[in-house]
């Protein structure tokens, strides 16, 4: 047992962790933020993607203790108040959501991409989400959604 401090979705939190717990376990079971999904448990599928200190990571590949004093953003931390992040809105508007299990990870992956590169080409979007699997195989719409989000963000800036 060990107690760690971290900031999750903008709030300072303290949590007791086991040595063998993963960041994914404390997000889902400790903080009950179940929007972060477990698809494979070995860093293949990207369903557990979160932002750790602004960097996209698979939460199943990070030990909980490694998150000490870090800042974590999960899908629940996107958008402001009741307003969706433009990426989330674009996913709805383009029909980029099917079964939805990859969606939180996809959205965060797109977020990480657009933070670094606000005007990505189609190819760069594909590359940006290449760590996230969509088994409904709805990639075309997902790429469209990220393009639309980039366009909308550029228009409001």
């Amino acid at each position: 047992m060990k107690t760690i401090n971290l900031k999750i979705n903008g709030r300072k939190r303290q949590i007791e962790i086991e040595e063998n717990e993963r960041l994914l376990d404390i997000i889902r079971e400790g903080f009950h933020l179940t929007g972060t999904k477990e698809g494979c448990g070995e860093g293949e599928c990207g369903a557990c993607s979160v932002l750790l200190n602004g960097k996209l990571v698979n939460a199943c590949m990070i030990m909980a203790f490694q998150a000490e004093d870090s800042e974590v953003i999960t899908i629940e931390g996107l958008g402001e108040n009741e307003k969706l992040d433009p990426i989330q809105q674009a996913f709805i508007d383009t029909g980029a959501v099917q079964c939805g299990f990859c969606t939180p990870g996809m959205v965060l992956s797109a977020k990480a991409l657009l933070m670094k590169n606000p005007t990505p080409t189609k190819q760069e979007i594909r590359r940006g989400i290449s760590g996230n699997l969509c088994r409904c195989t709805g990639y075309e719409k997902i790429v469209e959604a990220v393009e639309l989000a980039a366009k909308r963000i550029a228009e409001t800036d």
Partner: protein, 444 residues
Amino acid sequence: MAFKVIGENVLRVDGHTKVTGGAKYPADLALENMLYGKTLRSTKAHANFTIDTKKAENIHGVVGVLTAKDIPGKNCHGVLFKDHEAICESRVRRIGDPMAVVIAESERIAEKALESIEVAYEELAAVFDPEEAMKEEAPKIHGEDNTVFHFKIRRGNVDKAFEEAAVIVEDTYYTGAVDHAFLQPEAGIAYEEEDGTLTVIAATQYPHFDRMDIAGAMGMEEEEIRIINPAVGGAFGGREDLTLQIHLAVAAKKFKRPIKMVYDRKESFLAHCKRHPITMHCKTAADKDGKLLALKTRIVGDTGAYASWAVNVLRKAGVHITGPYEIPNVWVDSYAVYTNNPFAGAMRGFGATQPPIAHEQQMDRIAEKLGMDPFSIRRKNLFTLGSKTATEQVLRESVPLGRCLDALEAAMNEKPLPDENINYLEDLKERQAKKEGAWNEKNR
């Protein structure tokens, strides 16, 4: 009448909850006072076994271990034939067959307790090749015959057509097993309501079938079982057969507490069906102008240890093996066969996906032999409005295959033909490396 949905772009009703992470898949649910279940699965493909769960039961935090004797009703389930045991009693027929379910205060305790269950296997002769399995002397998986189903088409006179043909192409094609790998591994929760109703929450494709099989296994009326289908993280046919539903129901009733089970990816692979691997032997004949005359085919589908939808899948494969082409003389034998392999069932296409591997290669090779181009030979034989299929179905509605082929040809003509002097693989690698470098520079 104006349509509100057809032809309109409609936003998904569940879009908002899914982009915000609010949608609840079964693994996201939790109830107070919950227990957790973990399944012990067979490591042998075909064996009799005895099981001793005492050590596991004595572990602190384990509340019990379910075995076949804990199933109160009929220990069987299945979408067509009830050939699955919910928990195997004394014999396993494939790697991954469920043999016991540990119920414990935490997932970790349940997982750990699996190691303390003692299993003694007596291995049986196994069969992994469906052709072998069809032979009389083959080990039997269920009952007296491993052939689950034989579908036949007898149309016209194939032998006569082969004699008159200008060209005959004959070969065997094989497609492998495929897993759906739906992104959300199986998970569920079950609990007993105050009035005795048993509620099972699990991502499923057939809540009504689930209810029927759970009722049968519980010895309860269907009205006493309630199935809740939460958000489903993909299925593609892989959630048509039951996996953990009966285990959850039995445990919830027995221990009078909510039970939760979540499979990891590895267990998910072991638990659900695969796409049927199918071997297709095809002999196809055409006249000198490329008009198809006859097809004689033998199709053998490996359904593994359980039938699941084998009958429907191998029937569909038998119907689709002609491809979308008019063939006056057709002879089809399509078989579904039990083996000790992972069981096969529904998956995207349901028996229609495998045959194109065979019939389209046959078409290309006939064209090659006749010196025709691949588009012309297909156009000459395509189904059109009014065509009769090999099963004598008259196509009376839209048959836009010709338009599809036109679009395909136009798209292919836009790209230049491959240059024999370029090593495309090396070229691709080079271009990818270049792109990667540029991407890294821009985004890292």
